[in-house]
Every structure is written in C-alpha cells, then in structure tokens.
Symmetry: C2
Subunit: 426 residues, 2 copies
C-alpha cells in the first residue's frame, strides 16, 4: 500500500468535520455555487471530455460506453440543474426526528447527523462525480471519489469546478476528494481504511460491485442486480397487467428496475399469455418460457425459446424476458425467493387479500401493487435524486436519497439527572 489514498482520506475526513458544522443554508448555497461553476467552466469540462472520448475511441470502447462517457452542453446543463435541485431539497439534518420526555425529566431527542466520509467507486459516467458530491455534501458528508480511468480527464475537470466553489467559500477542497490515479491498487487501499471511511458505495457493473464487496473492510451498501418480477394473479385486470408488462420490460430495458421475469397464475394463463406474447412480440421482446408458456406460442405463431434456470436468474438488461406459468401464489413466491435479487417485485391483482399476502411474503426492497416496476427510483418515490440503490438489508433498502447519507443519534437534555443517586452519597 502506497499510502496515497490514506493521505487523501485523512484530509477528506478532516474536511468532513468542517462540513458537518455548516448549517443547512450554507450547504445549500455551496451546492448552488457548484452548479454555477459547472456552467462557468463548461468549455474546460467539454474539452477534457473530448480528450477522454478520443482516448476511448482509440482504445476501442464500445458505442454504449462512449455514450455513457460523452458530455455535451445539454448533458452538462442537466448536471448543473440536478445540483440546483439537490440544493433546493429540504435539509436532511434539520430538526429533531423524534423526541420523548422520560419520567425522570430527561428529554431524549433523536437527530440526524452526517455519516462522515463516504467513498464512491464508479465507472464511466462523469455525471456521478457531480451528483454524488452534491448528495454527500447536502447531508454534511465529505466524499472520496474514484471514477473510471476512461473518464479521468472529465472527472478531474468537473472536480476542479466543484473545488472552485469550495475555495471561493473558504471551505477545504478536500471535502470533495478525487482519486486521480485510477490504478486498481488504490481501490484496494481505499477499501481497507475502516478507521477513516464510514461507507463505500460502488456503482457500476456486477463485477465492480463484487470486487468491492469481496475486498472491503469498510461498510458497503450495494445492489448486485435487479431481477424484477411481474406476477399476474388470477384476479388481475388483464389490460392493466399488459400495461405493466410493456412499461416494465420495454420502456427502458437497460436499467435495474426493468422487468426480467413474468409469472402468470395458471387460471389466467389462457387469457393472458397470448396477449402478453403479442404485446412483447410487437415491441421486439424475445420470450424464454416454461413448457406451459410455450404451449401458447404456437397459436399466435410466436417463437418462444425454452427457459432454463439461467434464464430465471438472469438480469438481461435487454429486450428479453423469461416467462413461467405458476400453479398459485405460493409457487410464484417460491420462484421469487429462489431467483430474485431483492430489488423490485410487482403484482397485478384486483384482490386485496392476495395483494397483501404478496406484499407480506416478498422480501424485496420495493413491492408494487398494480404499478410498474419502473417506479422504483428515488425521484419517482419522492426521495429526490438518488445516490444508489441498496439491496443490502441494512441501513437503507431500496433507492437511497440524502436521508440515507445520515444516521440518527441520541441527544439527551437533562438538569443534572444521574442514574444511581445512591452512588452520590458517601
């Protein structure tokens, strides 16, 4: 270990104490000033991004990766706009969460405080540099950023803009610390710093996330993947169910809250499966089905490949869906328990008792009754911008907004109360 990251983390941690002492208005003004600086330094950021793009093209990055990496005036404007929205959000540290007066007169308050220092480990999208910094600062945290090597110049240019805003307000630039040397050994060093880093959030492909989880000695909040299910109950409104299926699978297949598996109650299979195959086929979605699903394919002339265990466990992130007819709710729940990823499950049913049973007997971070899986998103659920999604059943479960970057602590206000008054006598 070189100590390079430890030194950065020590400075960031010192900065976190200064951040934590700012009031909400000061933190909001800082983030708004960062948005101004992103606008003001637009040309420098776009020039740096052009360098990254040129390097990426020379290195043979895929078109999809280059698209994630690319900034233009509109995308940069959207990043600044997102920062202004974060600045305008309510202060997550404001006020007292709960308060109780005990019989002995002690007032027990719970108040949110920042986590301290948060490490973000992410891949090619340079917007994460600004978004994550803003969300961490909003909650009074310092942040240590380690982006992908392919976005090195873009990230450095964005960080320079953020630093300018910190500097002009007399705040330590270490509050937003970018690990500019993207050698992988530095990630390993970072993941050992349990005395300095309160939380690491990896964002990216499953291999990145598994690497972080495997090597971390610091707490990690993560999700590996989203294998999201739609269960069409026998009491489902079939028009509604078709809509949830199409929106869930086809509106944006590359995201983690897209549907990956359709489960259909056998009593509704004859009515629903042909409609589902028609709707999916019409949007270019390939279906991989169980034998009972495949039996319906011939009728309409659809091609349905045979699904295996790998299909049921797959996060396709593509125009492909697995489909299975199940005997009843129990079998649907057993399927989800076996193959699911604790991300998002959907039931289409008009029967409230079945809906309640589905809610109670699924473990996942979000469960939707007659609503699309695609609503599992911080903005859609009313959290504002999200810094990540957790399928770790600890601290936060589901999309994480700024509140997930805080922790409740106890503040006790007394008038000299002691626990053992008899100990005071001699």
């Amino acid at each position: 270990m070189s100590g390079y990251v430890r030194t950065l983390a020590e400075r960031a941690r010192e900065a976190s104490l200064i951040l934590a002492a700012l009031d909400g208005a000061e933190r909001a003004a800082l983030i708004a000033a960062m948005a101004e600086r992103l606008d003001a330094q637009r040309d420098a950021i776009l020039a740096a991004n052009a360098d990254d793009i040129a390097r990426g093209e020379a290195a043979g990055l895929s078109a999809a990766m280059l698209d994630r990496l690319r900034l233009d005036p509109q995308r940069l404007g959207a990043i600044a706009g997102a920062l202004r929205e974060v600045a305008a959000q309510a202060d997550p540290l404001d006020g007292v969460t709960r308060s109780e007066t005990r019989a002995n007169g002690l007032v027990i308050e719970r108040k949110r405080v920042p986590l301290g220092l948060i490490a973000m480990i992410y891949e090619s999208r340079p917007n994460v540099t600004a978004d994550a910094a803003a969300l961490c600062l909003k909650a009074g945290n310092a942040v240590l950023l380690r982006g992908g090597s392919e976005a090195r110049a873009s990230n450095a240019a964005i960080a320079a803009a953020l630093h300018a805003a910190l500097r002009e307000r007399g705040l330590p630039v270490a509050a937003v610390s970018l690990i500019e040397d993207t050698a992988r050994e530095h990630v390993l060093e970072l993941l050992q710093l349990s005395d300095l880093i309160d939380l690491a959030i990896p964002r990216g492909g499953e291999s990145l996330i598994r690497f972080v989880a495997e090597h971390a000695r610091v707490p990690v909040i993560k999700h590996y993947k989203g294998v999201c299910h739609l269960y069409v109950d026998r009491a489902a409104d079939l028009d509604l169910a078709v809509n949830l299926l199409v929106d869930g699978k086809a509106s944006r297949p590359g995201v983690c809250n897209a549907l990956e598996t359709l489960l259909v109650h056998r009593d509704t299979a004859a009515a629903f499966v042909p409609r589902a195959l028609a709707a999916l086929s019409g949007r270019g979605v390939q279906v991989r089905g169980c034998e009972r699903v495949r039996a319906f394919a011939g009728e309409g002339g659809y091609e349905v490949a045979a699904a295996d265990d790998g299909d049921y466990a797959a996060e396709y992130l593509d125009l492909i869906i697995a489909a299975r007819v199940v005997d009843d709710l129990d079998q649907a729940l057993a399927h989800i328990a076996r193959y699911g990823s604790d991300h998002t499950e959907v039931i289409a049913t008009a029967d409230p008792a079945t809906a309640d049973a589905f809610v109670r007997r699924t473990r996942s971070s979000a469960v939707m009754v007659n609503a699309s899986s695609r609503f599992n998103d911080g903005g859609q659920l009313g959290l504002g911008a999200e810094i990540g999604i957790s399928t770790t059943r600890l601290h936060a479960y589901g999309p994480m907004g700024v509140e997930s970057l805080t922790i409740e602590r106890f503040v006790v206000r007394g008038a000299g109360q002691v626990r053992h008054p008899e100990s005071l006598e001699r």
Copy 2:
C-alpha cells in the same frame, strides 16, 4: 470449511421466512411461551450451568468470569422476566412508517420488515442466548447463536427450552439455531456466509469484536469500546458536574457507558478540580492527570499520576479516570475527536449556546447535556431491551432495540400506473 455452519444457516434462513410471515400477536405469544419454558425447565438449565461452572473452576477461570457465567433461580427468573417484557413491547413491524400520495396517484408507503437472519457472536453470559433470541424473534428474524465455549452446556439447555416453545407452536426450531460446536473455525465459516446472514452482532471483549470485524464478509454492527468524556464547561453548575462525575465513574465502572476521561475548562479548574479530586478520592477512584490537574493535587494531599496518551485513549472499566484541563471548548472537542470512541460524551454547562455547540461538534452516538453518561442504555433511552450498541455510523448508532433489527422497505399501491405511457402505444 466444514459446511457445518452453512447447513445450520440455510435452515435458519428458511425458518426466517416463516417467522417473517407471523403477525405481531403470534410473535409475542411465542416469546411469552419461551419465558414459560425457561421457568418450567429451570432445574435442567441450572444443572447444565453447574456443569459449566465446575468445568470453568477446573479450568481456572477468574472469579469475574465465573460470576458472568453463573445462573441461579433469581437470575434465571430475571431472564424469563426480560422475555415477558420483550413480548409485551409494541410490534416493531406494525403499521406504516410513512405514507405519501404522489401526483400520479401512487401511494408510496414505507413499512418495516425483518432483516432476515441475524448471527450473534458472544462470550460467557448465558442470558444473551435467551435475550438475543427474543429480540430477534420479536422483529420477525431468525437467529444463529454462537456463545462462548465456557457456557456451552448452559446455552444448550436454554436453547432446548426455547425450542420447546417453538415446537409446541408448530414453528421450526431452526428459527433459534445454536452453534453447539464452539470451535473457532466455525465462527470463521459463519462470517463468510454473506448469501445467508443479513447481520452479525458481536458482543464481548474488544479482541472478540476485532476478530469478527477483521474476518467478516457479512455486515457487522459493533462497538469496540466506550471512552466516554465529561466536559465541565466554565459555565457549569459545579454541584451538578460533581454528581455527573461520580455517577459516571463510580456507580458501575465496568460498563461501556462509564466515564473514562474528565475535561475541565481552565477558567473553572481552580474551583472544580479540587472538588472533583475529593469526590473521586472518596470513592477510591485513582486519577491520572495532566500537569494542570496535578498542580491541584498537592493542595488536598491527593495522589495524581501523570496522564499520557495511553491514558487518554484507555477504556479503564475500573476505578481509574484520566483528567485534563483544557483552554476552551475547541480544545475539549479536539481531545474528544482524537481519543474518543463515538460512544457517549457529556457536557456540564448552564450556557445553552455552548451546549448546542458541543452537541453539534461531537460525532458520538449519544451526547448528554447535564445528564449522566450512564443513561446511554436502551432501557433508559426508552427503547426497551437492547441487543447491542453501535458505534458504526450505519443502520443504527447508539443502543439498538428491536427497531434496529428491522429495515424500512417501499410498498407502492397503484391502479395500473406506468412510468412511460408513450411506451404502451404502438
């Protein structure tokens, strides 16, 4: 790895799904039945404990360790009583935590769900076997228990009583799984089971906790130690400050919320330090002080050894205290930031602005204004029984009651809403 613990954990995880589906009344009745069984099987438990004690005496355990290990009818009655209290507590899974209706008509609810499977790793006190099981079950979790080898027979006898209550209610005994083979390799195996175990809570000495933190691939909530400070401000009521000092240090020095360091503002040192030395000396407390503290020792004829860095970092758990005169609040806060353990800090002051600054600028899980550090305890803070104390700034911070064994998830209720209605059109 033998697979012995994996097999236990797989069964416990299956049982957790059944536990999670019980309603609050069923969970409460189960815990009350466990209390009955502890009473009914008292003789068998005490006989097993006598075996542990005999083995411990032969192995030369210290008197303090034997005392922690020993059960008698009164202690066993207290354990059953604690279970009845947990049974009577409010259901942490009941109701909806928050609810919001969005503009599109979606109702976004947050509801608490169990964490799943919790592993407890602890040392000699056999009461933890019953207490931890009751708290985990109360929140709908299954529990995997690994107690100390010295309490092996006692833990097995207590687990047998708990299993009888599960069995008579038709519930899987694996909901409370005891790792009876206490070989350390099984702890290592347990700590790798990140696909099965949602949380590990180590309770015991610092070396046990460091071992768990060092080897865990599962999430761990822990606290290493309690280096708790009392800061006597220049605006303190000195009678009140003496009371907080005596209660904090002398009422029960062996616990983690006892005071370990006294910090005194220099303007009040001449008035307070002699009174503090008199009060501490009168209760047999040794003082290790800075030069300014020691300068007052001669006046009253007290012996005050010179404090060094090791004293300021020490968790004495004994009738010893470190003492230092500081120039101002800033120096007190810098001392706490350097040597503290994020456990409990206390300020004695009549100045609300100073109190607020102290609250805002300390990181610790609990901060007390004019109240004793000894109140940092689940029962005293209104949480009921506690399963542990967290100084990890994640999920829970401070004492953890049953609510800390749950996590909020999202339940979305709709009427067919989709995110991209335009995707439905063909």
